[in-house]
Amino acid sequence: MTQATAGKFRLPSFGFLFLVGVLGWWIPGAGHWIIGERKRAAIIFISLMFAFVLGIYIGSIAVIDAGTPWYWAQFLASPGVAYLAHLSGSVYHLDSFGKPREIGEIYTGITGMLNLLCVVNAVYLAHCINVKERNK
């Protein structure tokens, strides 16, 4: 199996792609960071965190409700969203309604979907690094 290198990481190609994907999901931008795309990583992290935090500020953390379809889009932003859903539903028993909830759901849901785009992009870039290493 070929070896992929990014910074000090040296892993088999599939393991490297998996690591990039999982890291990109856990922390938005971390997938790009690990493959050396530091500027892209910083832009993605700041933008997605801004949108997510603005979303939960507008609608409160009650917009992260595991019982709605939006939850699965929000969950793509990070697995940490599951903890926020637990806090809002089981610990604080929060709820929000109307326009703030709608807007909060849209902000956080789109953040998750954008993070999916970033994860796919980071894995693709990592694959390109693998191919480049193989052709050396």
């Binding site: 500027k39 892209r40 832009i43 993605i44 933008s47 997605l48 801004f50 949108a51 603005l54 939960i56 500020y57 507008i58 609608g59 409160s60 953390i61 009650a62 806090l87 604080y92 929060l94 929000s96 109307g98 326009k99 703030p100 909830r101 807007i103 909060g104 849209i106 902000y107 789109i110 953040t111 954008l114 785009l117 970033c118 992009n121």
Partner: protein, 80 residues
């Protein structure tokens, strides 16, 4: 500690049903433009990146306004 961190996120803010509420779309459109261009551009350089983001931001707004106009005209013609 968690209570302190989440204090500002426990209650929704008030948003009235006013035309100004549409302005809340702008930050989201900006984020979409920035993230999309961050994934699509081959090289990230400040000036070209900002220009591309600006173009995408404006395109999205223009097409949203055009869609709103088309829907408005359609509703006027059908429902009255």
């Amino acid at each position: 500690m968690i209570d302190y961190c989440l204090a500002g996120f426990m209650a929704p803010v008030y948003i009235g049903t006013t035309p100004q509420a549409f302005l809340l779309a702008l930050p989201l459109i900006a984020v979409i433009s920035v993230v999309y261009k961050a994934t699509k551009m081959e090289e990230i350089k400040f000036a070209p990146f900002v220009w591309q983001v600006f173009l995408l931001f404006c395109s999205i707004i223009v097409f949203m306004v055009l869609t709103a106009i088309v829907l408005f005209v359609f509703m006027k013609l059908t429902v009255g």
